[in-house]
Symmetry: C2
Subunit: 252 residues, 2 copies
């Protein structure tokens, strides 16, 4: 690299990095490439030297920026091989977006889905609050029954914001899960979970083939994407056949 004038600290002229230090610009650049999807999981990103040329920075500056991202788990670096986009961080079991499909398959069992209903609805006040839309707005509503080896395990009662997923009703939910479709539709930004034990209502008792007196373990989940409530789901499970477990090693 040619000798270059000392740059004025904290005074950067780059088009997309106003006010950011060089290292921060590099960081932002990498995160933007990943967020935009241009660089995907496992992709190799440009080498330190290439980025150093591109940003007119020294290799050490690039090195430290990438190193930080590696410590944070965004990148994986392999000496001699290169720098790669890390696999998305797994969340802890409870807060993980529990995907009934993967869950069942991980146990080596067969997952099937019955579509109970799939329709447009207009929301009432309560639902409008829940989905953060205007009362009376159109929403998509699906009710599915998930089975493990034929045995009912979960009723998925879901409302979807059409603005988030306009083609939600056109999918074949015997083939993919709404979860899969929605995850492919937009980036997950925030999740809210509420766990409750409730008495079984009639629909649950019938669809889930529950014994009298057996309560329901209800998981309510709202997810945010692109700044809106993308979907709100109620997941009903038979208390006698379903529990949620998580184990964690305490940090430090």
């Amino acid at each position: 690299m040619n000798p270059k004038a000392k740059r004025l600290p904290l005074e950067s002229e780059s088009s997309d990095g106003i006010g950011l230090s060089l290292g921060q610009q590099v960081r932002a650049h990498v995160l933007e490439k990943i967020d935009s999807g241009e660089w995907r999981e496992g992709d190799r990103i440009p080498s330190e030297s290439q980025l150093a040329d591109q940003f007119d920075a020294s290799r050490m500056t690039i090195h430290i920026a990438l190193r930080d991202l590696a410590v944070e788990g965004v990148l994986v670096r392999r000496q001699g091989a290169g720098t790669f986009v890390a696999a998305r961080r797994r969340q802890s079991t409870f807060l993980e977006l529990r995907n009934i499909h993967s869950e069942i398959e991980e146990r080596g069992n067969r997952h099937t889905t019955d579509v109970i209903s799939l329709e447009r609805v207009h929301c009432d006040m309560g639902l409008a609050t829940e989905m953060n839309v205007a009362p009376g707005s159109e929403l998509y509503h699906s009710v599915l029954l998930h089975r493990e080896n034929g045995r009912p395990l979960q009723i998925e009662d879901r409302f979807v914001n059409p603005r988030f997923s306009p083609d939600f009703l056109e999918q074949d939910y015997t083939q993919i899960t709404p979860h899969q479709h929605l995850m492919a539709t937009g980036p997950l930004e925030e999740v809210e979970h509420i766990i409750q034990a409730v008495p079984a209502d009639e629909r649950s008792r019938e669809l889930l083939v529950m014994a009298p007196g057996d309560p329901v373990l209800l998981l309510r989940r709202r997810t945010w994407s692109r700044g809106m409530v993308a979907t709100s789901a109620r997941l009903y499970h038979p208390g006698s056949r379903f529990s949620m477990a998580g184990r964690m090693v305490v940090a430090r």
Copy 2:
């Protein structure tokens, strides 16, 4: 600092850092000081220059080591002020060690505890497996009723390994919670949580003053410390008055 001979990479002579790079030695040193309790939360640690002298390293080497620890959340660094030991990382709501006392107080309510029983027991096969001790071993057993503003909210049914906390039975659980006592007894290493919805048994219905048909939200928790199962607890909550909620922003 005096000019010093180039050190042979990866060949360190320090007493407690055999085979570790300089940066790793610094890292290990800092973590050891924190783990041993010599440096506590909020303490200011030696400056980069002091550590550089101490390790006969350049300030940049120290800087990068401390910077990494800051990214990981072990340290907090304030330009101009110094480097401090960070507060212990909070865990996410679900997996957080839910402490009924803080939970109630955070809502601005009054927490009281009834001691239902507190005794020595000898464990059967199932309990021995659960606590990972020999069948017939002595265990401590406590049953407490936690109230929020006088209203029953949780039955805490707990077994404790005497080897972990020999003085468990001598505490006054109307004043402190077992949770507080146990946390002060040893470092938390691992936690297992299982959440279930179960029909209310007679004891729960009575103690928790539950309506007929109201199910119990049961949280089972085992914690490991110093390599053993320190305690196993069953926390019973009235389904109609209790839910667990958690909200998280998705990483990245």
